[in-house]
Amino acid sequence: MRFLKTALITSGVLFAGTALHAADLTVTVTGLETPGGTISVGVMDGAEGFPNKRKALTGKRVENAVAGSNSFTIGGLSAGRYAIAGWYDENTNGKFDTNLMGMPNEPYGFSNDARGSFGPPSFEDASFVVGEENLSITFQMAK
């Protein structure tokens, strides 16, 4: 599961430009057991390299998250198919903590609540379509 490490740390920070005709995406992340950590999510627009070797198109960092559910908006998405990968820096050490074999020790999640088998889900399983209208999605973060 080293897959998550690079992608999720950088995804909220690095992103490319925005589109002219853009929809707002409201993201609700549920399942956080402890408050005060930092949520990072990255929005990706294709299967190639998903999720660890693909740069996020855009993303969001939310500090001082509350326990339970947190909502935020990511603006400027042009019509298309996307998937979101996210993690929760529970102890705010700036690292996505994993065990010796790279399995996550901190909560993580993907849009559609897609889960892989001992690894990440496919882009297809995690993806959703954005059209002209604004859209809301909800997914859970869990260890």
């Binding site: 065990n99 010796l100 074999m101 790279g102 399995m103 001992f118």
Partner: protein
């Protein structure tokens, strides 16, 4: 036949060994119906039927005389829920683990049993059906889970270390339990860096109280070795990269070494299906012994071995020449696991080769290896020793013996082997009883090896009642000195341990 011929014969049969595994989940199969039908014809299948309720605390009737100084709790684990919703599991090792506790207070004996409340059972109970692939069951309605602990059934053994009771599986974490109520307290995390990593079911307690263990993680192509202090701190660990990871169920310690026997039974990461079906038996590749320096876990080397399959070891020690000596029930192939213990779950009797108790000798420097049969101990399993001799030369090994070629039919004999005198003593259980592992319980008033009792359960399938048996370890052939019968049957289980109070 002299010893040399025996060895040659055994080696040849090992080399010729082939696994006869059978396919999983053919469409239209109904294992539940098949098993129910077979149970009517073969009442001994009761041991594989399974239960879905906990056992409340019950006072057991005592036949015979309990030693006054025998006080403590005998814990035993094993797969117990063999059916979830409409699904009957396709392998004996699949079922959700249940811990049994037999409490000796000096006068009375009580029994209670409780399922480990795993992440898996919580999710499946909520869903009302089986959700996850298991050790031996796969199918389109089942998913493989996100992580090992999501499918952890905690069903192999149970130990107490530093006062903490732990239910053990081998694919994921141990589960922490309350030693009195058997309530599940949660997953055991030694450290964050080992969270969720496999922690096998046969840890070894060293002379100084150190707990050694290992885990094999085929998905990640690696083994991990753990050194845990007597006070429960993980003080060292080592990763061993091992692509095409072999299945390893138990290991050995000596004064200076850890020894992992790696059978030629390798995981294929590209394969799909139930866990056990993703391993390939390749006797032509031979086996290996991985030898690790206890004081420097990075100092590792391997020695080539003939191909054989083994679940359990009795004990190992180093003799004056530096040879590592150990005894273990050795199989020619893993057929008993890939075939017999699968088919029995639908009531089919499929024979497989039996384990022969062997004395093995391995030189860690020259790589020389040889093994000798302990002739009387054919069709043996569940070897146990006086734990006080762990890693040191032991005099006694206790094994359970069954019907040759038909391990699925259970065990009907307890045998104690005296390596020093080269004698054996045995007790044959009544014809309608299937016996299980018997553990050595030391007499608290003696420091002499072998002075104590052998304790284990058996199932009288005809009467539908299980019993806990207690033998004088040095007078096994006299039969049980005490026998505590239950008014009910408990599923055939795997491993346990007794802890004095």
């Amino acid at each position: 036949m002299d010893r040399r011929q025996l060895l040659q014969g055994f080696a040849l049969s090992l080399a010729a060994g082939m696994v006869t595994g059978s396919p999983v989940l053919a469409a239209g199969d109904n294992w539940k119906e098949d098993f129910t039908r077979a149970l009517k014809q073969k009442p001994w299948l009761l041991g594989y039927k399974g239960v879905d309720q906990n056992f409340k605390k019950t006072n057991l009737k005592i036949d015979g005389k309990l030693p006054e100084n025998l006080k403590g709790i005998f814990y035993r684990n094993g797969p117990a829920r063999h059916e979830v919703g409409d699904l009957r599991y396709r392998h004996w090792f699949d079922g959700d683990g249940m811990i049994h506790a037999f409490n000796f207070d000096g006068e009375s004996v009580t029994h209670h049993g409780r399922f480990v409340d795993t992440i898996k059972t919580e999710k499946e109970t909520e869903a009302g059906r089986a959700l996850f692939q298991t050790f031996g069951t796969a199918g389109s309605s089942l998913t493989s889970g996100c992580s090992a602990d999501e499918v952890n059934v905690a069903n192999i053994s149970v130990i107490k270390h530093n006062g903490e009771l732990l239910a053990l599986w081998e694919g994921g974490s141990a589960y922490r339990l309350d030693g009195e109520t058997l309530e599940t307290l949660g997953l055991k995390t030694w450290t964050e860096e080992t969270a969720g990593l496999p922690f096998s079911a046969h840890p070894r307690v060293d002379q100084d109280g150190t707990l050694w263990n290992f885990g094999y993680a085929p998905i990640f192509g690696a083994l991990i070795v753990y050194r845990i202090s007597p006070t429960g701190q993980l003080i060292d660990r080592a990763l061993v990269q091992k692509p095409a990871t072999p299945m390893v169920h138990d290991f050995l310690i000596t004064e200076n070494h850890l020894i992992l026997i790696l059978p030629p039974y390798h995981f294929d990461n590209a394969s799909e299906g139930a866990f056990v079906d993703r391993f390939n038996w390749s006797p032509e590749k031979g086996g290996r012994a991985l030898i690790i320096d206890k004081n420097n876990l990075a100092a590792q080397h391997e020695i080539e071995l003939p191909p054989f399959w083994v679940f359990h070891f009795a004990n190992a020690f180093e003799d004056s020449s530096g040879d590592i000596c150990f005894d273990a029930p050795i199989y020619q192939t893993p057929d008993v696991m890939t075939s017999s213990f699968r088919e029995i779950m639908r009531g089919n009797e499929v024979g497989s080769d039996s384990a022969q108790l062997m004395k093995c000798r391995l030189n860690p420097l020259t790589g020389n290896f040889d093994m000798t049969e302990i002739e009387e101990a054919v069709a043996s399993e569940f070897p146990r020793i006086d734990q006080r001799m762990q890693g040191r030369r032991h005099r006694f090994t206790a094994v359970m013996r069954g019907q040759e070629g038909a391990a699925y039919k259970g065990i009907n004999q307890l045998m104690s082997i005296d390596h020093q005198q080269q004698t054996t003593e045995s007790y044959t259980f009544p014809a309608t009883e299937m016996a299980e592992e018997h553990v050595f319980v030391p007499d608290p008033d003696s420091i002499e090896e072998g002075k104590g009792w052998l304790m284990g359960t058996s199932l009288d399938y005809k009467r539908g009642k299980s019993a806990l048996n207690l033998f004088d370890a040095q007078r096994v052939s006299d039969g049980p000195v005490a026998r505590m019968e239950m008014d009910y049957a408990i599923p055939l289980g795997l491993h346990g341990n007794f802890y004095s109070s």
